[in-house]
Amino acid sequence: MPTIDYPLTAAYQPAAGVPLVPVLLVELIRGGQSARAVGVVDSGATITVFNPEHAEILGIEDVREGQPERVSTQGGPVDYYAAAGRMTDMGAVRPKL
């Protein structure tokens, strides 16, 4: 069976209303601006999503100017807007904002 080794560990941390989840501090970078946020490790996820308020800090005043997209989740479809950027601590990925 194929296996994947992750070269980092994520501690489980509780917060208000949040079950224990593996979290990382991540930094979102776009152009010369950056914002830090809690990143929840979901190893099966195909995209990474953040609140539009994080996009504001990165200089995106209205995320609706981005590419509208939809993803299926166990809780139903979720609409989001895509924007290019970088995220540290989890490799070179393109977070969807």
């Binding site: 296996t3 080794d5 992750y6 070269p7 980092l8 560990t9 994520a10 501690a11 489980y12 941390q13 509780p14 917060a15 208000a16 209303g17 949040v18 079950p19 224990l20 989840v21 593996p22 979290v23 501090l25 930094e27 950056s34 914002a35 830090r36 946020a37 809690v38 929840v40 490790v41 979901d42 099966g44 996820a45 195909t46 995209i47 999503v49 609140n51 308020e53 994080h54 504001e56 800090i57 993803v71 989740t73 166990q74 809780g75 979720v78």
Partner: protein, 179 residues
């Protein structure tokens, strides 16, 4: 058991082995879970019996024992317990240094970020700010508001270049989208 390498106790709830050895193994006041390996199961009790034997004599619903040497202990089992019992689960990580790790990939050891440390240390207080954004820097809460405009004003006022913000979900909101 490769999946276990990514399972860690909640931040700040890990008891070092030296403290665990001094603990009275007679009762468990809160929900607790123990991660143990074979080396951890010996020479820890004054009576000479192993920790495992001692723990099995203590019948309590508050204790969940994970023995890493057993095939029934896997990552999903531990995760189920973590998520069903939060936030009262306390880990006694008895002998971390000798825990068997099957992966050959080097693990990056990192210090806990000050923002996450603040959230851990104030996890109960955070509930009072449900529906609000928090601005945290240098292990301090610099501001909180339901209006993100207020948070942005605070970011500018404190001249933060890479601010850490966190939205505290209401009880009706899902905290994260797991895809």
């Amino acid at each position: 058991m490769a999946g276990l390498q990514n399972i860690q106790p909640p931040l700040g709830m890990m008891f070092p082995g030296s403290r665990s050895r001094g603990r009275q193994l007679s009762s468990f006041q809160t929900n607790e879970a123990l991660l143990m390996n074979n080396e951890a199961l010996s020479n820890n009790c004054p009576s000479g019996e192993s920790i495992l034997v001692s723990l099995k004599r203590i019948h309590t619903d508050n204790l969940v024992l994970f023995h890493l040497g057993m095939p029934t202990t896997d990552a999903s089992t531990i995760q189920d317990v973590l998520q069903s019992r939060q936030p009262e689960v306390v880990f006694l990580h008895v002998h971390d240094a000798t825990m068997e790790r099957t992966s050959t990939t080097p693990v990056i050891e990192r210090r806990e970020a000050s923002e996450l440390r603040w959230m851990r240390e104030h996890q109960r207080e955070i509930a009072q700010w449900r529906g609000q954004w928090l601005l945290i820097a240098e292990n301090r809460l610099l501001g909180h508001s339901a209006s993100f405009r207020d948070i942005r004003d605070a970011i500018a006022r404190h001249n933060l270049t890479s601010p850490f913000t966190y939205y505290v979900p209401t009880e009706e909101e899902s905290p994260f989208v797991l895809l």
